[in-house]
Symmetry: C2
Amino acid sequence: MTLKRKVYLDDSEMPRQWYNLAADLPTPMLPPLGPDGKPIGPEMLAPVFPMNLIEQEVSQQRWIDIPEEILEMLSIWRSTPLVRAYGLEAALKTPARIYYKNESVSPAGSHKPNTAVAQAWYNKQFGIKKITTETGAGQWGSALAYACSLLGLECKVFMVRISFDQKPFRKLLMNTWGATCVASPSNETHAGRDILAKTPHTPGSLGIAISEAIEQAVSDATGQTRYSLGSVLNHVLLHQTIIGLEAKKQLLKFGEKKPDIVIACAGGGSNFAGIAFPFVYDKIHGADIRIIPVEPSSCPTLTRGPFMYDHGDTAKMTPLLPMHTLGHSFIPESIHAGGLRYHGIGPLVSAAYNDKLIDPISIDQLECFEAGLFFTRTEGIIPAPETNHAIAATIREAKRATEEGKEKVILFNFSGHGLMDLVGYDKYLTGKLVKHELPDKELFKYLKELEDYPKPMV
Amino acid sequence: MTLKRKVYLDDSEMPRQWYNLAADLPTPMLPPLGPDGKPIGPEMLAPVFPMNLIEQEVSQQRWIDIPEEILEMLSIWRSTPLVRAYGLEAALKTPARIYYKNESVSPAGSHKPNTAVAQAWYNKQFGIKKITTETGAGQWGSALAYACSLLGLECKVFMVRISFDQKPFRKLLMNTWGATCVASPSNETHAGRDILAKTPHTPGSLGIAISEAIEQAVSDATGQTRYSLGSVLNHVLLHQTIIGLEAKKQLLKFGEKKPDIVIACAGGGSNFAGIAFPFVYDKIHGADIRIIPVEPSSCPTLTRGPFMYDHGDTAKMTPLLPMHTLGHSFIPESIHAGGLRYHGIGPLVSAAYNDKLIDPISIDQLECFEAGLFFTRTEGIIPAPETNHAIAATIREAKRATEEGKEKVILFNFSGHGLMDLVGYDKYLTGKLVKHELPDKELFKYLKELEDYPKPMV
């Protein structure tokens, strides 16, 4: 064979530390605020998260050791392959060299297990027996169910009602790994019962599901239950940096000194941070790299949302986080990229944007599915609807390279496969998928609620 | 990390030839017979298959070169990892060392693309523009759709009506790769229309779907359409031997000189042959290896079916093949391992059994799903219902090793993932799955039809 198509790392070459961007940001991070508007201390989060993860959440340490036992579990599927997209390049007739990091090879089919396994391990170390969480489209709930299965922890997932009904296979997947999955709002919590009493036929929302999961965690009288979040927070983004750290070593094995462009889709920000932050480090230290988070145009958090203090959930149970947001009451259109339907984006990603280290763009779902189908038929693997956003941006950049006649190196994160999201492709193929641009009127509607909140000083 | 969990091969270490067991069988293979009871010549198959594949079908050459372009395509996902199942070993407290070859990492999620890509390439070389096939559960149809997408060929899949209705996602998967998938019986063929006229509400069968696919291939007046089969035939089994050839090299990298036991599920026989035949070669040359094909107890072709001449399809359109069979009219129970519901088994596998080179067993689906769930919760990956048969046999052998106190090396083929077959797990978890042993009465019922057929002389 003449083509070097993919590169793995040996177990001995695996990264042994996660990278914490907070240590290197030119502008220091702002703290989360409590209900009184004052910075919250770690102890205020103790009923929700185990203290070892809270320590990571507030850490300023640049490199954080990955415990040996977590490395052992990650090695079930890691390293993930870095793949040269020869088929895509040929079809685009581009001089760009396109590489993708294939995170879809994990047992749950996405990057999510990278942090699910780590969080489950830290919870178990802390003596926790049960973890609660919420899930929208189901990727995160599946990943946590998998991780808890590996570690012998109980797992309870509140799944947004509309997804629960539309995607019964996701629930079966969680059941197969031994987790319990209930539709949210449920009758199991005060929050759920209140909402069901008022609106018995509500489709639910991620905000409601978060409220239920947190309530069930903090109200366990034994103190042995905690809550887990699959994105947004610093420690979650930290665990994902293994993606970019691996990719760096793998690019060198392909003979590439550095990428010119790094691309990933962005919802809460953990997938983007995972591949991008190790390259943001290089950029801070002088490397010429354009780093592009890609949002859906129906939920343009970074590209159009202001930087404000806002709650992480609709029910306002979380502390105020400094982030680009569309307002915690904002309900994104029901696009198929359910993992990108979040009103805010992680504070670390927001800070990197404020420091002009990253260049976000937004793309409509029609262009994204067109790109995903093009990838499917040139590279052969079916991407998740979220991943299609990264592919659409990659195709734009590859075409630009053709126009400019430049041999650019493009790296993107193939965050997950679409084998459980084929309904979206069916709608695209049968002409039923529509564009969703967010009108200005909608953009500002929910930001009014934040007017009286403390303002971040940038 | 102290554990060496998985091993890949570099592209430079990939096998460059397929292994043809026909060259080494102690007893020579019997020929297929035509309608007149006489051996058929290659030219009689020419309307159905391209001549380059027919040449492989009848070849007695031991090693057959894999064309460079096929190697390039296979390298999209190959080598597949050979994985040490530490989690399963620990849970079983066995002294056995268990390895599995993970074929689920292919774009279509099973071993089927190994031959789909090869067959599509040979068809294209021969000037063919369109390939027709049938599919039951959908794994084969998906794999051929994928392969045709890579090579720019048209692909038409006749999918058994009951599966078409029960598994709409499989159809969407084929559509996403650009293939057309219709429910069989259809109105597009004489065979389909005849059956619909008599039984408009029939659930269909693999036999009917094969008839439709062959009819549509041979009746294309342009001569540019051929038919493709996903198992049973010699050339299909040949293409799968890359699995075992890779596994041999990978076992050496784990420091294992040879396996003591090789296990794979068996329906038409291509998955089993793929991992097993390279070790059958070693066994013929003196190695002490037990080689176990595992059938469902509801479709015990090798373990209970006699060796006879029989048709490969229900509609008797194919030549007579010398194989262990339950009779071409036999309809297996609707177990979830749809890929193992075939009345016969490949002539090469049948011949290896007659020469006492392999030791088939059959296992009921309840034990198989129990084993699959145990694997899911100890190793983390959800197996296809077919694969569960290999896992159930592996667990039996690992327990035997414990009883005997022996450090055996067990290798099994993880033929595919179960992400699109979760309904079976749901039924198992909710107690709705039942045992299916084939009663003797059923076993002999359909063999009567074969009484007047020519008898193979063994």
